[in-house]
């Protein structure tokens, strides 16, 4: 792949949540208010004027306090949200590691959930069959694979989720604060897998509260605050500026 090619581009992106100033959750109430012409809405901009360009193969970090818009930014790139203003362009297959085990069903076995979770990510049954052994192996589930997921410990669930989500041939990896999966041994293993992706030249976008992780893994970073970019540049500079500000 061409190193100079842009993988992700956010052009003047804004995301608006439209919150009714009073929350009306019943149709009956809404109808009455509408008749009285008393429906008002408040706009809340979760993101505003975001401009980011990420090159192929780059590892890019997002930092900032809670509610700054980091996860919203990731979800824009993962197509979960569509921007209210501006434009998001993403070139390549995206593997969103946002929340593991999204769509796991407690009554289904680990095996059945692998296929279900795979389908949620857009894979066919056949494609999942090819990956199946690898996933079970990596998640270290052994015979538990034939038992309903409701009997799993949270660590086992996380391991299975991570194993399914990362067994992909993606161009872009989106990671939301997930390097804290399972025990120390598994954490090391998952870290290695992510390093593997980076070595293969996969573009990585990372949200973390650990400045250490950002410093170690990222080439560049952006500091988000109240939905706006406060600073963007080399990750060590951004991390330092952020820490000085605390």
């Amino acid at each position: 792949m061409n190193d100079n090619m842009e993988a992700i581009r956010l052009d003047n992106v804004g995301v608006r949540y439209r919150v009714p100033s009073e929350r009306i959750t019943h149709f009956k109430e809404y109808a009455i208010r509408w008749l009285q012409r008393r429906i008002s809405q408040r706009d809340f901009w979760a993101l505003k004027e975001i401009n980011i360009s990420i090159k192929q193969g780059e590892t890019f970090g997002l930092i900032g306090p809670n509610g700054a818009g980091k996860s919203t930014t990731l979800k824009l790139i993962a197509r979960v949200f569509r921007p209210t203003t501006g434009r998001v362009i993403v070139r390549g297959v995206v593997a969103p590691l946002l929340e593991f085990g999204a769509g796991f069903h407690p009554e289904l076995t680990g095996r059945e959930n692998i296929y279900l979770n795979g389908a949620v990510m857009g894979f066919t049954r056949k494609e999942m069959e090819a990956k199946f052994e690898r996933i079970v192996d990596f998640a270290e589930l052994g015979d538990f694979i034939n038992v309903p997921v409701r009997t799993y410990s949270s660590g086992m669930k996380a391991r299975l989720g991570f194993a399914v989500a990362t067994d992909v041939d993606a161009d872009i990896l989106i990671i939301d604060e997930i390097l804290s999966v399972g025990d120390e041994a598994f954490r090391r293993k998952s870290f290695e897998r992510l390093e593997d992706f980076r070595r293969r030249g996969v573009t990585t976008l990372l949200v973390s509260h650990s400045m250490d992780t950002i410093n170690k893994m990222c080439d560049r970073a952006a500091w988000l605050d109240h939905g706006q970019i406060k600073a963007i540049g080399e990750s060590d500079q951004i991390v330092n500026a952020y820490l000085d500000d605390q």
């Binding site: 439209r18 979960v80 949200f81 969103p96 009554e107 279900l116 049954r125």
Partner: protein, 277 residues
Amino acid sequence: MENSSLTPVYDSSKQANPALDELREILKYRHLVSQMVRRDIVTRYKRSFLGIAWTMLNPLATSIILVLVFSNVFGVSSPGYPVYILGGFIAWNFFSQTTNAAMVNLVWGGDLLRRIYIPRTIFAVSSIGTGLVNLALALVPLLAIVIVLGIPLTPALLFLPVPIVCLALFSLGIGLFLSSLAIYFTDVAEMYQIILMAWFYLSPIIYTDELLPEQLLASIKIFNPMYHLINLFRKPILLGQIPEISEILISSAWALVSILIGWVVFTRRADEFSYRV
């Protein structure tokens, strides 16, 4: 990956037509539809003793009760009456269950939409899939009764896919329309139960046309699409006849109107749903 023309490009500003885009996406995610149908069926029966037999026993038991009650109340004594009721009941069940499931699955299972990208119509479409499986299972006791009562099985049964497709499209349209309301208002689901009850009694399920006053029957024929859809489904089984062209056209027209309106209304708003669920 070497060939950059194969690299998928997502551009948020390129969305010419949400309705068509969604159609393309749901076709791409058809494996997810089948996995979700599988999940629905498997989880429903996993911890139950009789398992999948419930799908067949349930409408059967209900119809036996209805037949016992109504052949006494209305004095209907035609030999085909049990088939009339069970046939109508199966078609109605399909409609009421799938429309409810579309709404409930989106509202309660929709947090998936906030976590990962999947086509938003997936919940409604897979409820139709689950409904179709249940309908196929319910046909077993229906055909058993047909045989027991000595009603001849005719080639007209091969026509059944047509009314089933009409029912599916009609239900999907209504399900999508309801879903787009239910996202915003929590009482839509409750209101719909009341509407369903009235709708049930305004549809020819437990009574036959002859029992209705002429004027009421005329209005039902105009305003209640389920009148036509149920009859289209029942006729080949009960009478061994392929419905007339005019009957087929009316049902297909209702199905098309419903799916078009439902799909367009839903997809126009769909980008907002991941914020709202």
